[in-house]
């Protein structure tokens, strides 16, 4: 299946290991990707604080580009996905609004007809490959690993724009996919909560409290690692973890993995090729633990 690939700014900026791991795994999943190089940032909910309609115009432009190419969009970031899903929901449920947005898009000779599908990589794994498609690709079942999911707000809420009504499994997509990879899924209440990233610039103290609370909670529930489909959650939970640990005077040391890295490892790929050496919280301890299973 072919997609217009929207990597998002962060996978090409602060989380290059995410982009790297997606590039490694996708050909082995039978996916075909055409990267959208002329698409803009979604606004990440930040631009929308200043001007929501402007955000919708920029996203409608991206949808129109994919529509022209006749391809559904694939995202690899909870925030990109959520912001795009919300924009698309507003545009496709309000024809006069879509017309007003198109009037601005005409400036670039573009029109959006409202037909573009936008799906996160996780949903594609769930809905296109499914349990069988994933299980049959597993070469190294990660049975010794205890992993907790961490979705990112934008992949959970608002459920209406994310299509949970028609696709109820999306609400537990990470748990399903992780279990198909053979590992033990650790449940904990923080899995659908906010990582604190949007508060980082505004109120660092509160942001770090969220990092500490979720990582410590996951550890208390027995998790070896936290797995996320969102690079922004990764930036905060991995990048700011040592500072959060300092704030709470606690020892955290919980590696945060991108979902494609976990998938790649289960498919038998080398940790280094998946960018697992490029994290701030070292993944080495966990890889050592898996040593016997992975060797």
């Amino acid at each position: 299946m072919k997609f217009a690939f929207f990597p998002g700014c962060v996978s090409k900026g602060g989380c290059p290991e995410l982009y790297q791991s997606v590039m490694e795994v996708y050909p082995r999943l039978g996916l075909e990707l055409e990267e959208m190089t002329t698409a803009s940032c979604t606004g990440a909910g930040v631009l929308q604080e200043k001007d929501r309609k402007l955000g919708d115009v920029l996203n409608a432009r991206t949808f129109a580009l994919a529509e022209q190419a006749g391809l559904p969009i694939m995202t690899i970031c909870s925030t990109c996905q959520g912001v795009m899903s919300q924009a698309n929901h507003r545009l496709t449920t309000d024809p006069p609004y879509l017309a007003a947005v198109n009037e601005i898009l005409n400036e670039e000779g573009l029109t959006y007809r409202g037909t573009t599908q936008i799906r996160h990589f996780v949903w594609i794994l769930l809905e296109e490959l499914g349990e069988q498609g994933i299980r049959q690709r597993v070469r190294r079942p990660l049975t010794e690993l205890r992993a907790a999911p961490f979705y990112g707000c934008y992949l959970q809420r608002p459920s209406e724009a994310l299509g949970f009504q028609d696709q109820p499994d999306r609400a537990k997509s990470l748990e399903l996919i992780m279990s198909w990879l053979g590992l033990e899924v650790v449940d904990f209440p923080g899995k659908t909560r906010c990582c604190g990233f949007p508060l980082l610039t505004i109120n660092e103290k509160n942001s770090l409290r969220m990092v500490a609370s979720h990582t410590l909670d996951a550890k208390r529930n027995g998790a070896d690692i936290l797995v996320t489909p969102c690079p922004l959650c990764h930036l905060n939970l991995d990048g700011m973890q040592s500072r959060a640990a300092g704030q709470q005077q606690a020892d955290i040391d919980l590696p945060i993995w991108h979902l494609p890295q976990l998938l790649g490892l289960a498919m038998g790929m080398e940790p280094k090729r998946l960018g697992l050496t490029r994290h701030l919280v070292s993944t080495q301890g966990v890889l050592d633990k898996l040593g016997s299973a992975v060797a």
């Binding site: 700014c9 604080e49 505004i202 109120n203």
Partner: protein, 319 residues
Amino acid sequence: MITIFRIRRFNPEAAPSMPYFQEYKLDTDRADTVLDALIDIRETLDESLTLRCSCRGAICGSCSMRINGHAALACKTKVQAMASERGVVQVEPMNNMPVIKDLVTDMAGFWEKVRQVQPWLQPAGQEPEGEYLASSESMNHLTGVMGCIMCGACVSDCAALEVDERFVGPAALAKAYRFVADPRDGAARSRLLALNEPGGMWDCTRCMECIEVCPKGVGAMERIMSLRSRGIEAGVPSTSGSRHAEVFADLIYRKGRLDEPMLATRTFGLQNLSRLLSLLPMVLRAFVRGKVPKSGPLHRAIPGVEKFRRLFQRMEERP
């Protein structure tokens, strides 16, 4: 259908007064709401179970509690929609407020914060001869927020309040918006100035929990975002939050994409050099770990950015 209700109990007068879960088995009907079931439990199984309700029709807002981990009106939530495969429904009091007994929470702090935003009309200028007039369009826009029944569900599940009880919270901020956006109100600027302070509109972490759990579709977070843009428009003193949004927009205008080093530098800049410098150790460690994209840390603009910029200009020309 036999349903197991796993209810969080707490009695401050018991010794020791520690919360605990108690299970009740009840035969429930397809049409039963969680509130019906709880009342049934109280009437037939355990008269000590304490809860609060009044209208039973999703109007009064008094029966908010957490059902399977999320706040909801018990009278609006069907048992069958919530029962797990094993037929279990978990019921707890609301979060982010003190528990008085069992499922009843103390709403005093909630009302205190609502009062803090001065939830009454403050018209400016001469009193008109007749009534204060407002267009029906503007009033229609406000009906969404006016639908709030003050149930507290959004406050219960708010992620920002969970880590900082000083945050004014979604219900009070939605109420503030209701007056800032009312054409008859003359105090928008002073309201926005007050909300610009720490604990105000910039302390929301945009988690959308308040949108998801609201039984009335008030969309508190959307209102908070509107308050932020109105604040920026009204030129309230810049905060790291408002600078972040402004710089973000400008970077997209220039490059079509995000430029993280630029964003941090310009958001904190000279106003907050220490904050910027405090990020350095993390940045250095990221470099050492090879956490830098192949193209280097500086980001090039997307191809065709000149044409793309015209969309921004078109937006500025709009009425």
